[in-house]
Point group: C2
């Protein structure tokens, strides 16, 4: 390090997702002051966000206030603020109210947004799923499509309203596509008088040759069969070329569909660019083996914001990797304070799970691979375990039990995207 | 009736609150077709909305889709639409898409909004609590005040941010005021580093001489003592004369407060005016004893939209009255079809309950009046019983048990009032 380290250094962590939170927790007993800055007040359990979009869970079930999570960690403070600037030479971050916060160590963990591949105009037409607000917006569009179909008297428009297109065959796309048919065919079937919700079409479009590309090929094949058994039309090797208010073009073919969800491609948070560091094609910071930025021993980048290499391979953008990177960055800060040598990050892949629908999931634990009921129950168990907070575990368990036994969805709530104009502060 | 009644008449019900829903259900076995029109997709259990505002419950816990509630009632259809016009002579209602729906009988049950007594500019500064969106907005302001106080370095501004003013001493105002001190002093106390949330001030302003004016005086006095024991400053006989972004003027005195909630005064939904009927001072339709509109045997108004008299007294604007009126209007439609004489509405007051805080409530059952733990447990039981849907009962019960045993609040979620501009459809 070039600058001297004060007796009680200040570690600033930007972002309260899996990476930032695990970094903060790992510094609990370190002789440092920690400040976690996030533009929302909550940690979001993103792996279950698609269940907010599909009306199974409430936003409150999968979020917890960051300051509540860290309430017993006395060396940690939490600031609800957006970071709008970085000055690595003066070691300060600038907040949205123009105030500056100085740091001795900085951990950047602001994650990623969706990438629309040079089609920013598609975002409005095909929203993605990253924040709690996104989850409520997808839920709103999904439920409103059925409501509008019930109101419509034009059969062609009704068909377009009951056609849902999901772009992207990764875990989020597969989970969304797998959840919709069951809801249309079981949960909603008795509720409408003019439309038959069983005629709902769900189309999953993936530009690559298979769904769940991060999984072994045999599991991708299994997931594809599961999706098709649920009635999802899967289009592989086809790219979306146009999106309109009432249609999608896929490989030249026009599909009449009023609701399109985007689950294809990520782009790192714009904070990456502010560091001046070299970025990869997705805008992620190319970090060194110890997760620090080249030329800045005191600045780390972790999670979906960082391009990390371990054992010669790129570490995947998944929650367990972000947690491990958070712990590793914290550990390297402690080692620096103790004048010990830093350790390069080593990713431990504990296995991969993806769910497709009721009793349908795939599990990849290296040589051990399995599918079906066992994988599905394992998926449920692990997601409950990793949820933060006893209350959230209980409420999610209750909601899942309700959905499992009744085939209903408990949170079919359409809320306004914006309050009446007079209400805005 | 002047116009002939067709063999299977069409009953249109506008509004899916307590009144509209109970009217629809009461027509289950009647030889009619029922259409319920609401501008939201859900029935909202308004008596618990203040618990959404105070982060105890999720919006999904106290709402249920109207069409789901009526899914097994085969003569009922539900339309998500806003009624923008009425033509009583042609017996049609006009929807927001300009389509018209004709009726043989019409039940108007669109409720009330807040009245700001000729100060519409106060709505933005002091939002009220009627819709799910209102609940989320109050929660956002309440939680953001603490966040901003933690960020602020100006002690005067911190004090103003930690001062909450509630205008109106009816049940909603008392419930809000009673809930806040416990949250500030117990649920949040460990979460902040710079501010002491125990210094939070809660001020309840009521222009009349006592809180809970609909209750007997002895219970009002008890509620006042309960509020003061909780640390709420109650200002009786004082009116709000000005509201600004950082202050409220109450009877000449300026109170520095950044958060003001409005729970004073109701004004009937604008639909009342479209009927051309005579209205009372709150804009409610003056209905006849059988709940129909003067000159229109086929049109009924119920709930908070109607000024109803029973046994010489005005029926209060409470949920049980709306339910009874819904059933009575439905019954009078059936009697008309059977060529029987209509029955005048008779309000049966089954008793009144209001809660102030943990173990604190007042109950008025005529000669039987009681307070404290017994009233509080009774309040909890009755509210669980009247919630619609098994799932909602279970989740509310779980949330209450969690809050009771841990003193925490489970849904401390701040969400954006509007999604990013690009996301709006």
């Amino acid at each position: 390090m070039t600058a001297p380290i004060p007796p009680r250094p200040h570690v600033v962590i930007v972002g309260g997702g899996f990476g930032g939170l695990f970094a903060a927790r790992a510094l609990k007993r370190a002789p440092v002051d920690v400040t976690v800055i996030d533009r929302t007040n909550h940690h979001l359990f993103q792996p279950l966000l698609y269940q907010v979009a599909t009306a199974s869970l409430s936003p409150g079930d999968i979020t917890a206030p960051i300051r509540w999570i860290l309430r017993r960690q006395e060396n940690a403070a939490v600031l609800l603020a957006e970071v709008t600037g970085l000055d690595l030479s003066r070691r300060t971050v600038r907040l949205d109210d123009e105030k500056e916060v100085s740091y001795d160590f900085l951990i950047l963990a602001t994650g990623a947004r969706h990438s629309y591949f040079n089609h920013p105009e598609w975002e409005r037409l095909a929203p993605g799923l990253k924040s709690v607000e996104d989850g409520a917006e997808l839920r709103r569009r999904f439920l409103l499509a059925f409501e509008e179909a019930e109101r419509s008297e034009d059969p062609a428009r009704q068909r377009a309203l009951l056609t849902f297109v999901i772009v992207g065959g990764g875990p989020t796309g597969v989970e969304l596509a797998g959840a919709l048919p069951d809801i249309a065919r079981k949960a909603m079937v008795r509720d409408f008088r003019r439309i038959d919700t069983r005629t709902t079409r769900v189309i999953l479009v993936e530009a690559g040759p298979r769904v769940l590309p991060a999984f072994p090929e045999s599991l991708s094949t299994h997931a594809l069969r599961d999706l098709e058994a649920l009635g999802v039309e899967v289009r592989l090797g086809q790219a979306v070329t146009d999106i309109g208010a009432d249609h999608v073009k896929v490989g030249g073919e026009r599909i009449d569909a009023c609701t399109v969800f985007w689950a294809a491609g990520n782009e790192a948070s714009p904070l990456a660019r502010l560091t001046g560091a070299e970025l990869d094609r997705s805008g992620r910071i190319l970090v060194r083996p110890d997760l620090s930025l080249p030329g800045h021993d005191e600045v780390f980048a972790i999670g979906d914001l960082a391009h990390v290499t371990s054992a010669g391979r790129t570490v995947p953008a998944v929650a367990p990797a972000a947690m491990q990177e958070g712990r590793s960055a914290a550990d390297n800060i402690v080692r620096t304070l103790r004048r010990q040598e830093r350790r390069p990050f080593r990713y431990v892949n504990k296995g991969d799970l993806a769910t497709i629908g009721r009793h349908r999931a795939v599990a990849d634990f290296g040589r051990l691979r399995f599918t079906g009921r066992l994988a599905w129950w394992l998926w449920l168990t692990i997601h409950i375990m990793y949820l933060i907070g006893f209350r959230n575990r209980v409420t999610v368990l209750i909601e899942w039990a309700y959905a499992y036994f009744t085939y209903q969805r408990g949170v079919r709530l359409i809320t306004d995207p914006a309050p009446p104009a007079g209400m805005r502060a």
